[in-house]
């Protein structure tokens, strides 16, 4: 389902991918898990534009993969094409992850709180769940090991952005403030890129804060769609920068010609 961006020649999925891509840098070393089209497209786009040395391990295995298209899984062997290394999971991957050599991890969740923690485990109580979700997978591991965390969500609404998680499957800034550092964990969430806006984290409290609003979105619209107060920075909140024609072409033609990224907007 493709959502047009008002006054721009692109759709929401494209805006989110490009925004993600621009947050990456030439020293980004990333991997990905299941159902991660926005970051996977973002890594590939960044590598093909401003960050040629960016490392991406497709499904955490296929280093420097360059698949001609993405399919119905970002965790499968179908996206390994063009890899320079098929790395071994127990030996290579977990060493690079634990050693923070892989420095970038992106996750989303059924619930996200103000500190960038996420829940992908249950709605309701763990022992008697109302809804049993897929589970955290490697989220509890990789969110503690990786210094640069990015959160994305294609469903910015009060069901997703909640005041209190039913379960903390993935670690963002924890309870906020110094919590992460006190546990000896590196870095923390950098940005949350959603269907409405981009948020960063206020340096002291580590609470979500407006960074930019997607075209046509207002602060009030976001606040209404969010189960907690999003901090408002000093000065005006800019509009999220639009993709360039070049970025759109590369994304549409080279990175994701079958528009697999729309699977995240089901």
């Amino acid at each position: 389902m493709s959502v047009p961006i008002p006054g721009a020649d692109c759709t929401l999925d494209e805006l989110m991918v490009v925004t993600f891509s621009r947050a990456m840098s030439n020293d980004t070393r990333a991997f990905n898990g299941a159902v991660s089209y926005i970051p996977v497209c973002g890594y590939l786009l960044a590598r093909k534009t401003h960050a040629p040395d960016l490392v991406w391990a497709a499904s955490s295995i296929g280093i420097d993969a360059d698949p001609p298209a993405l399919g119905e899984s970002t965790l499968s062997d179908s996206i390994w094409e063009g890899s320079t290394m098929l790395s071994n999971s127990p030996f290579d991957f977990w060493t690079y992850a634990q050693g923070a050599i892989y420095n970038t991890f992106a996750f989303r969740g059924a619930q996200i709180d103000r500190y960038g923690n996420v829940n992908n485990t249950v709605i309701g109580s763990f022992d008697e769940p109302k809804v049993r979700l897929p589970g955290g997978g490697g989220m509890a591991d990789l969110s503690t090991m990786t210094p640069r965390i990015y959160i994305w969500s294609t469903t910015h609404n009060p069901r997703t952005f909640v005041d209190k998680l039913d379960f903390r499957s993935g670690m963002g800034w924890g309870n906020g403030g110094d919590h992460r550092a006190l546990l000896g964990l590196p870095g923390g969430p950098q940005l949350a890129i959603t269907s409405l806006c981009v948020m960063d984290f206020e340096p002291e409290s580590k609470r979500m804060r407006f960074k930019s609003l997607h075209p046509g979105v207002t602060v009030e619209m976001v606040q209404e769609a969010t189960g907690f107060e999003v901090l408002v920075p000093d000065g005006e909140i800019p509009t999220t920068d639009l993709p360039t024609a070049d970025e759109l072409r590369i994304l549409r033609v080279e990175v994701d010609p079958t528009a697999s990224r729309l699977r995240e907007f089901a």
């Binding site: 299941a34 159902v35 295995i61 399919g71 119905e72 899984s73 970002t74 965790l75 499968s76 062997d77 179908s78 390994w80 094409e81 098929l86 790395s87 071994n88 999971s89 127990p90 977990w94 992850a97 634990q98 923690n117 485990t121 763990f126 008697e128 769940p129 109302k130 809804v131 049993r132 979700l133 897929p134 589970g135 955290g136 997978g137 490697g138 989220m139 509890a140 591991d141 990789l142 969110s143 503690t144 090991m145 379960f167 903390r168 499957s169 993935g170 670690m171 924890g174 919590h179 992460r180 546990l183 000896g184 964990l185 699977r263």
Partner: protein, 294 residues
Amino acid sequence: MTKVRNLEDAVAMVPDGATIAIGGLSMNATPMAFVREVIRQEKRDLELLAIVNGMAIDWLVAAGCVRRVIAGLVSFEGLGLAPNFRRAVQAGTIEFEESSEHILISRLQAAARNLPFMPTKAGLGTDVLGINKGRLRVDSDPDTGEQYVAALPLPVDIAVVHVHEADEHGNARVNPKLIWMDSEVVNAATTTIVTTERIVPHRSFTAEPHRTTYPRFMVDAVVPAPWGAYPTSSFPEYTHDKSFYEEYVAAAGSGREEFELFFKNRVAGPATHAEFIDANGGAGKIIEIRRRTS
């Protein structure tokens, strides 16, 4: 003395109540022919470890074989949630030990290596620690005060993994080499069964000894199982069957009777793995899922 067994005899090695670990990851490389035969032999009360998986868990839960699941992630990825697993956990008819990938790997490593625990930073600050009391411990290093998670041993009775080639002695290899986390469950298991796309002569291993994944002394039984990972993939030979996943999810969404019919006709009913593939598209399906070697 050959270790080659047919599927029926190998599954008969699994006692009711056993802790059985199924290899593969998500829609990849899962020993599905074996899983199907477990269902046909009506095994009961299994404790099922599958680090990241979907269809194998959902089948075994649907068929009533499972008492308890240990996993990090249970889903069909973008193709849906595992419907029977989900319902069973919500109804409380099975136990679910949710863990995370690296905590499970670390627990398996502790078991495989005769260590009281393996340290990891995995899970610090998350609720995964609270639901795993008795299976891990949050400790701090006496010198530095640094916190860590001590992942306690997770021994496995029987590991079942799918490979491309094996010889009759039990030497086995995954092409092009081991990629997923299967070696961790094999190392932690008392007994290991490999299902294999094909049996090859022993000299095939001595000709390319750097490609061997499991040496014979780690393998107790070798089961010929061509297309044995279907409907999951066996890279680089064939991919997962997307339409099977979609039709399975659709059937589960159409009501109990519809699903039971689907499960009987398309999963548990066919007597052999070949008949099972026939029930899901036969030769045409085999041609469809074949991928160019890469």
